[in-house]
């Protein structure tokens, strides 16, 4: 019944994917072997050193485990919060822990057992690989954001721009996902998502220029450290607002929900995705949210600056938690705005606002009021 004109290719594709998987696992184990051995050897002698070891940073904090945990809690929190606001209870019954916190694990298990349906005549390799790329592009920015001068996995001299590179990669994945579904609605949905992402990347970059100006560096560690005396949100509040709004648009959160919305072109560019590919997209999106929230904290909320009774990393965690809570609460509070309103708001309102903020910084500098930052 369903002809598979590319059946041979598909078998080859599966073999190639398996080879890539095994090769990268081998490479990973090879790369991790040395550091893991040395960590184990001194872990027993000097546990303190373990806490600043790069392996710990990658795996636990602020890497995989931490980001995954925050994403997990964010998913649960979003559902619970929206439910409470809407006078419902949200996740409640899953598992022994109260509040339905284990709901996500239940969903994960369910999804792993779901049949993966690949549309006929879709471009199968791209259709299957696009979610994986979305997941990678979404989770990699976590590497760049510092949680303190010591807790940063990759301290790149142009770290901020590298973060935005991952932002810029996402539309590519989006296009491929929508196009490969072989569904006109999906494709149009991905085009609209593309317009949205592209339109809000510019205000994002423009408003991020303000912390760069104030800190005089593109290194995220420098930008965080420069806020020891005053948070940048107090010096450039408009930029902070524009940045936060652009984050909401980039993450396709309300009120910028059009590409994913249930009543818009079915589910937009994700229509044909179900089961594990869908999981990869969503989880990647939530990890991306954690990365963006951390970036916002480093750029505008003073990063790890705080009173001395808590370690800097803890201040960062607290602030990021607050930002994440605000981001997920938008689901409960905002209606959805129309596509043309969305786009024109990005281009005609946010960009001038961002430029205005930059101009105000120039004026402040000329008046000599920014001397306290030096």
């Amino acid at each position: 019944m369903t002809e598979t004109p590319r059946g041979d290719f598909f078998k080859t594709f599966r073999i190639v994917v398996t080879i890539v998987f095994l090769a990268s696992t081998a490479l990973l184990l090879y790369m991790l072997y040395g550091p893991a051995m040395s960590v184990i050897s001194y872990f027993l002698r000097d546990p303190q050193a373990f806490l600043v070891d790069p392996l710990f940073m990658v795996l636990i904090f602020p890497g995989l485990t931490y980001a995954g945990l925050v994403a997990y809690l964010a998913i649960w929190g979003e559902r619970k919060f929206a439910a409470k606001v809407q006078n419902r209870v949200g996740p409640l019954y899953a598992g022994a822990l109260p509040g339905g916190i284990l709901q996500n694990i239940a969903d994960l298990v369910k999804i792993l057992f779901k049949e993966v349906i690949i549309p006929r005549d879709s471009d199968k390799p791209i259709f299957i690989l696009a979610p994986v790329f979305a997941f990678i592009v979404g989770s990699l920015p976590v590497v760049l954001v510092p949680y303190s001068p010591t807790y940063v996995i990759l301290d790149f001299p142009v770290g901020l721009i590298l973060f935005f590179v991952f932002t810029a990669f996402y539309p590519l994945v989006l296009l491929l996902a929508g196009w490969s579904s072989n569904n006109k609605f999906s494709f149009i949905g991905s085009l609209r998502a593309l317009y949205q992402q592209a339109s809000y990347e510019i205000p994002l970059f423009l408003s991020a220029l303000a912390p760069v100006m104030l800190a005089g560096s593109l290194r995220l560690v420098d930008i965080g450290s420069a806020q020891g005396s005053v948070w940048f949100i107090l010096v450039a509040p408009i930029s902070a607002i524009v940045f936060f709004t652009s984050i909401l648009a980039e993450l396709e959160k309300y009120p910028f929900d059009i590409p994913e919305a249930d009543s818009e072109l079915v589910a937009g560019w994700l229509t044909e995705y179900s089961g594990v590919p869908y999981l990869l997209y969503q989880f990647g999106a939530y990890i991306k949210m954690v990365a963006y929230a951390s970036l916002f904290t480093v750029l505008f909320l003073g990063g790890w600056a705080g009173f001395a009774f808590l370690a800097p990393e803890w201040w960062m965690v607290i602030k990021v938690a607050i930002v994440v809570t605000i981001v997920i609460s938008t689901r409960a509070f905002f209606p959805r705005i129309r596509m043309d309103q969305l786009l024109s708001a990005g281009w005609t309102k946010l960009i001038p606002l961002a430029l205005l903020s930059l101009a105000s910084l120039v004026v402040l500098q000329m008046l000599g009021l920014l001397a306290f930052l030096r």
């Binding site: 994917v17 998987f21 057992f113 994986v132 006109k184 100006m213 786009l343 005609t348």
Partner: protein, 122 residues
């Protein structure tokens, strides 16, 4: 390895971890999930009235101007980042050039916004 030292090693490790977990997620249903294929499952999903043929794609081109503008501004951002970086540094370079650059890009912006509002032209 290249450029800025040891952090890149861990970046690669992290990227590999992300790749492997992504592929793992894809492979697990291969073992756990049922595979009962049928014609209707693999149909394209469509709901509601289908608009007439070619117009569907044309309709999505309404905001094409914004994509072009995005490219323009992306290139401008390159320059602005450098300017912002040197804002406080030795010998500030003033803001004449960035201002001129942005001013040059405003007419296309206005043109694009105006055109995108007119649906019939696309």
């Amino acid at each position: 390895m290249f450029g800025p030292g040891q952090g890149l090693y861990w970046f690669i490790v992290f990227a590999l971890l992300a790749l492997i977990s992504g592929l793992l997620f894809l492979i697990i249903p291969f073992f756990l999930a049922p595979r009962r294929r049928s014609a209707i499952k693999e149909d394209t999903f469509e709901a509601g009235q289908l608009p007439p043929g070619a117009k569907r794609i044309r309709f999505a081109l309404q905001y094409y101007a914004y994509l072009l503008l995005f490219l323009l501004f992306d290139v401008t951002i390159m320059f602005l980042f450098v300017w912002a970086y040197s804002f406080f540094g030795e010998g500030r370079y003033g803001f004449a050039y960035p201002l001129a650059l942005i001013a040059v890009l405003l007419p296309p912006l206005i043109y694009a916004v105006k055109l995108s509002k007119i649906k019939e032209m696309w």
